[in-house]
């Protein structure tokens, strides 16, 4: 079986630089898990520890039932696709793909069959006799995939495989990889810094920051229920808007006061009355409205910039020192400098503690993936 379990894994470099701390995760067999986060968050390091390319400072990693801490990469039954593809430049595509089978002493006819099958699957058959130097970026990428595929490993590790491709290729390849996963029914662990990739490709996403796991959940859950301000801000384009504010109770109702206005929030927040908070609202959960209102509307904003995105627009607005973005359908009459009012969908507001940055709604109800 090809589940992966990481128990309290740490990685420390000399000089006490902790790249990864207390990483706990259970990846189920056949799952597509994505590690995502800003550079330096430890996602590649963790992947490489699973692969056996980095030593584990403390903790345990199991592939299936097997403890693999000191098992050589080549005995772990894994395959890896590198960001730079790492193709053997002096070997043909065929030999590149055949290499690992050769290392495992697979008989020649079997090698030939499997290489050709995989090449067929990836559309590489006509390239088998070429050397990597004569291939384009996308073709190299597919060869790298093929090289990993040919081994039918129990675990697939991919380290930012699409980073070196241009945008169009990237979106094509994304679809290819998803299809591949469905077809192969193998465990995929994928590392990326691109949150779009993370959201569209994974069964579950592991968001990391500075070596620590921030949240592990399905894309939808992360989007709807981000555990802290970092996660909320990392996922979603354009980025969620954040406003400093305070929780107030009045006449039995709860409000979040921010942006010169107040927003009705659920009564469950009453316990946090008086707390300084950060109010988060996604641009797509705000809309331009005509007039001001006492509640749930930011009034007196000024349009700074309108970005045209086809049928949608991003309206960048400001209120004094505060800046925010509203996602809306295209409308006419929006000019820079003109006044604007924005209604907020209060059912989609997130309240984060100003200090801990934790999502207050999730501190009581333990949101577990």
């Amino acid at each position: 079986m090809a589940s992966i379990t990481l128990k309290n894994v740490d990685k420390t470099y000399d000089g006490d630089v902790k790249a990864v701390s207390g990483f706990d995760l259970e990846i189920k067999d056949k799952e597509f898990v994505i590690f995502v986060g800003p550079s330096g968050c430890g996602k590649s390091t963790t992947l490489r520890m699973i692969a056996g390319l980095e030593e584990i400072s403390s903790g345990e990693i199991y592939i299936g039932d097997r403890l693999v801490n000191y098992v050589e990469p080549r005995d772990r039954d894994i395959a890896m696709v590198f960001q730079s593809y790492a193709l053997y430049r002096h070997m043909t595509v065929y030999k590149n793909m055949a290499f690992s089978l050769k290392m495992h002493k697979v008989p020649k006819e079997e090698i030939d069959r499997r290489v050709r099958e995989t090449a067929e699957m990836l559309g590489l058959t006509h390239l088998l006799d070429r050397k990597p130097g004569a291939l384009s970026g996308g073709e190299c990428q597919r060869v790298a995939l093929g090289r990993a595929l040919v081994r039918s490993p129990s675990v697939f590790l991919l380290d930012e495989p699409l980073s070196n491709l241009d945008a169009k290729l990237r979106s094509d390849m994304r679809a290819e990889i998803i299809k591949l996963h469905k077809k192969l029914q193998t465990t995929f662990v994928y590392v990326t810094h691109d949150q779009t990739e993370a959201m569209t490709m994974g069964d579950r996403i592991v968001i990391m920051k500075k070596g620590l796991i921030q949240q592990v959940d399905s894309p939808k859950d992360i989007y709807d229920h981000p555990k802290n301000k970092f996660v909320a801000g990392f996922i979603g384009t354009p980025q969620m808007n954040f406003f400093d504010g305070e929780i107030k109770t009045e006449g039995g109702r709860c409000f979040a006061e921010a942006c010169g206005s107040r927003f009705a929030i659920s009564g469950g927040y009453a316990a946090f009355s008086g707390r300084k908070v950060c109010v988060g609202v996604r641009p797509e959960h705000m809309e331009l409205c005509a007039g001001a209102a006492p509640e749930n509307v930011i009034s007196g904003g000024r349009i700074e910039l309108v970005e045209l995105l086809g049928s949608d627009i991003n309206v960048h607005a400001s209120l004094g020192d505060i800046r925010f973005v509203v996602r809306s359908q295209w409308q006419s009459g929006l000019e820079m400098g003109s006044a604007v009012n924005v209604r907020v969908d209060t059912s989609r507001i997130h309240i984060f503690d100003a200090e801990t940055e934790e999502n207050l709604a999730m501190t009581e109800t333990e949101a577990e993936a």
């Binding site: 692969a51 056996g52 390319l53 050589e72 990469p73 080549r74 894994i78 395959a79 890896m80 590198f82 960001q83 730079s84 790492a86 193709l87 053997y88 430049r89 002096h90 290499f99 690992s100 290392m103 495992h104 050397k131 130097g133 090289r147 081994r151």
Partner: protein, 297 residues
Amino acid sequence: MTRKQPGPEQLRRRKDRLNSLIYLSPSLIGVMVFFLVPFMVVIYYSVIDNPVNKDFVLIDNFIKVIKNSAFKQAAANTAKFSLVAVPGAVVLALLLAMLLENKIPGKSRFRTFFLSPMMVPVASVVLIWQVIFHYNGALNGLLSVFGVDPIDWMKTDYSQIMIVILFWWKNLGYNMILFMAALANIPKTLVEAASVDGASSFSRFWHIKIRYLSPTILFVTILSLINSFKVFREVYLLTGDYPYETLYMLQHFMNNKFSSFDYQMLSAAAIIMAVVIVAIIGALFYAENRFGKDVEQ
């Protein structure tokens, strides 16, 4: 009729050409005077029969040299020596470099130690070599502990083993540095990919690393080849003007011809050597080109 004035670009180019020559001239003049022009004279001398008659005899001198028994001896010795010493210098240095690749304590200290023979003048260390390799010396002493009879290192065929060891002692450090740099330049992800693909340590080396090492292997081979001719120094300082026959090297041959003012032989021999060396190096280059083509960086 006004003459066309040269534009600023042309002026610049003219100035460049002038500067280029000026900066090169000291070196170029020296090289021409001391090497290139006299080499033409050498070629001239090699094709005439003597400085008095100046008759052209073309390849006669060359044939005379090749047939000369002393030359044959020297050439054979040199060839035998190089065939063992040079590949050894390459392979052993590579092994040493790979040894130091690992995480052993005091790595840089070891590097200094391995490089140290380079800084010791041959003249200084020859004394200890005599102590070690003399018939009554330390090495035979050590061998006798294992029940091996004493060997005359200097006056038998074993002398060739001795100078190979001396050669390696002096040159391995330098070659090792070159290999260490080359090993460090192999793209890490490639080796990792091979690791994941299932290659053992040996396979990783044999299938991947060697390709990236081939330019350095070429360079170290050529360098060691050139240095192998300098082993004359050790031989001369150890054995003087009249070494044992297996230690008789080309330089000995040349020295003799110098003292007898036989310019014809000298010139012919020098040219033969030059041609052979250029041919060997050319062949090596060609071989490396075929082998290391794809992984050019």
